[in-house]
């Protein structure tokens, strides 16, 4: 037990979780922006935009996140020389966020689109009858209701994003939890089970309140009809 307590002073475990939370929050922000743009493209009257958005979503939905992350570092950075910063750690951190955001945006778009399916047809017809054009109907009538209807799938997407942030290990982000756990186990093989349980319960503690909040919000925000 004493050796286990010593691990906490030796390794900055809360700091590692903080890195994952930072990765998640930045990626959530960027993927939401990109996802809403994709959604608007996907439901717009302009057929080429619809096709482009659909192609993007299909591409990233059927692509392993790991290969995107590896591609970010070995392809985009090492071969194409695109970098965010001259510091290695900062550069890999932002490359990981780019990969996570590109990947998650496809799922954000799908979640929002499933929310649109819960808005009754009468709402769209009423908006058109009032003379609203596509942009007005989408932003003032459909989307506000669709977003409220898609809280639960969106919450699941972001829970998956938090768990996926561990894949940043593939993008050489060395300070996040999965890399730290691997390293700790390597040097303290006798404590393998307590080390795993520590990190596992860290995620359980992060995710269960978020899941409960999602459920609460999806009930609270749902449009009563």
């Amino acid at each position: 037990m004493n050796a286990f307590a010593q691990l906490f002073s030796q390794y900055d475990i809360p700091g590692a979780f903080l890195v994952n939370i930072e990765l998640t929050l930045w990626s959530a922000l960027f993927s939401t922006i990109l996802g809403v743009m994709l959604l608007l493209m996907r439901i717009s009257p302009i057929s080429s935009l619809r096709r482009i958005a659909r192609g993007y979503v299909e591409l990233f939905k059927n692509m392993p996140l790991t290969i995107i992350m590896v591609f970010m570092v070995l392809g985009v950075y090492a071969q194409l020389k695109l970098s965010f910063s001259t510091t290695f750690a900062t550069n890999f951190f932002w490359l990981a966020i780019t990969g996570l955001s590109l990947y998650t945006a496809a799922f954000v778009c799908e979640s929002l689109r499933s929310g649109i399916n819960t808005v009754p047809i009468g709402q769209a017809e009423a908006a058109r009858a009032l003379g609203l054009n596509f942009w007005q109907a989408a932003t003032q009538v459909i989307l506000p209701q669709a977003i409220r209807g898609s809280v639960a799938p969106l919450g699941n997407t972001f829970i998956a994003l938090l768990k996926n942030s561990t894949v940043a290990a593939a993008a050489s982000v060395a300070t996040e939890t999965s890399t730290m756990m691997s390293e700790m186990i390597e040097y303290h093989a006798d404590l393998i089970v307590p080390i795993f349980l520590t990190f596992a319960f860290g995620y359980v503690i992060l995710i269960i309140p978020f899941g409960a909040l999602t459920t609460y919000l999806s009930n609270k925000l749902a449009v009563r009809r």
């Binding site: 939905k61 059927n62 290969i67 070995l74 639960a152 186990i185």
Partner: protein, 390 residues
């Protein structure tokens, strides 16, 4: 994972009116502008590939040739693909077994069994797959097992995806009409017998399309194995790329292989629900995003709930459950496709018909009278479920 019933290229969406001549003109211009912008972005990407700063031309055939020739396929991609498919296949079998075991465990009448199953399922859903893989990899290596990377990939995937399948089993049973359970009890079966002989078999049919969707997730997640040195497709393509210094090219080839496989599986998952719906009274519609809100007691399939199938599976009684989107009472499904009928009420399909008929027959006109009678007899032959589609 795509939602099968939402059509993707709706040319006549309800969101906007059918465009007139000026609208069409504007859409044409916007199309051209969008295509030009897209082309410019593509050209910029290719220029970067052609001429990266202080780097070599990534489009050169010298780099693509070793990534595409026969040796690359026989020595790297195909063995890697075999390892990927092997792990994914074993993991799917394992996770369905795990899922049925603990999904049923969460439904059994005995409280301790329920609690233990619930704790295991919720734990496995919350912990990132990569963490479990790393843990088992180290553990198996210490235990001196053969091939620790393979078994840790399989076990990690089984635990996570199995817990998702367990939730699917549970929601499949939850989405069944109450009549199924009530009828089983009325026949004298116990609660456990009703569960095992009536409800779970139907839930498994309802779950199959979503399980195929989960297969896509499993296939994608096997790529995590490359982080723990499992020699899957991704790892093999990295090895090939580091031999010829063409890692960008080999990664692109691997990405295309992954994409084609996952895309084909997604198509299969879209095609399955209509077939599976014949065998079950629960909605056989896969989730858009696989995991269901954690700790959600009702745990219903959001999309399936938002949507109602017009047909009555197995010719049963009309559904009285899940007519509304949970929490929102939205009851119109596929609103982008269905036509709204004035005065039609799903709960009382007869009312609208009566109301229309009041206007038609004129007193004293025998022909109209006769027509109405014919109409009525014709109506009676048709069951309600078919009529609403007319």
């Amino acid at each position: 994972m795509a939602n099968a019933t939402t059509n993707n290229d709706t040319d006549t969406s309800v969101l906007f009116d059918a465009p007139g001549p000026r609208g069409r003109q504007r859409i044409r211009i916007a199309n051209v502008v969008a295509i030009v912008i897209f082309a410019i972005i593509l050209v910029l990407i290719f220029m970067r590939l052609h001429n990266p700063p202080e780097g070599e031309n990534q489009l050169a055939w010298d780099l693509w040739k070793p990534a595409l020739d026969a040796e690359a396929w026989t020595d790297f991609y195909l063995p890697g693909l075999w390892m990927t498919v092997k792990a994914a296949f074993v993991a799917v079998i394992g996770s369905v077994a795990f899922g049925i075991l603990f999904g049923v465990g969460r439904l059994l009448p005995a409280a301790p069994v329920r609690w233990v199953s619930a704790v295991i399922v919720e734990f496995c859903r919350a912990v990132p797959v990569l963490m479990m893989m790393i843990f088992f990899w180290r553990l198996f290596a210490f235990m001196g097992m053969e091939d620790p990377a393979y078994w840790s990939v399989v076990l990690g995937l089984v635990l996570y995806n199995g817990s998702v399948v367990a939730e699917l089993v549970r929601s499949g049973v939850g989405n069944l009409p109450n009549g199924q359970h009530e009828a089983a009890l009325a026949l004298g079966l116990t609660r456990t017998q009703s569960l095992m002989q009536v409800e779970v078999p139907q839930a498994i049919y309802a779950m199959l399309p979503a399980a195929v969707t989960q297969l896509v997730v499993v296939l994608k997640d096997t790529a995590l194995g490359s982080i723990i040195m499992y020699t899957d497709l991704l790892q093999e393509s990295r090895r090939l790329g580091s031999m010829y210094f063409n890692i960008l090219q080999t990664l692109v080839v691997a990405a295309v292989i992954y994409f084609v496989l996952c895309w084909l599986l997604s198509r299969l998952a879209e095609w399955l629900p209509s077939r599976m719906q014949r065998h079950t009274a629960a909605p056989a519609e896969p989730e858009v995003v696989a995991p269901i809100a954690i700790m959600d007691p009702s745990n219903v399939n959001q999309i399936a709930v938002a949507k109602e199938s017009g047909e009555l599976p197995r010719g049963g009684a009309p559904r009285t459950y899940h007519e509304h989107h949970r929490g929102s009472n939205a009851s119109i499904h596929e609103w982008q496709k269905t036509r709204y009928m004035q005065g039609y009420d799903e709960k009382h399909p007869d009312v609208a018909r009566q109301r229309h008929r009041l206007d038609v027959p004129l007193p004293g006109v025998p022909g109209a009278r006769k027509n109405r009678d014919e109409d009525e007899s014709h109506d009676d032959e048709r069951p309600d479920g078919q009529e609403r589609k007319a």
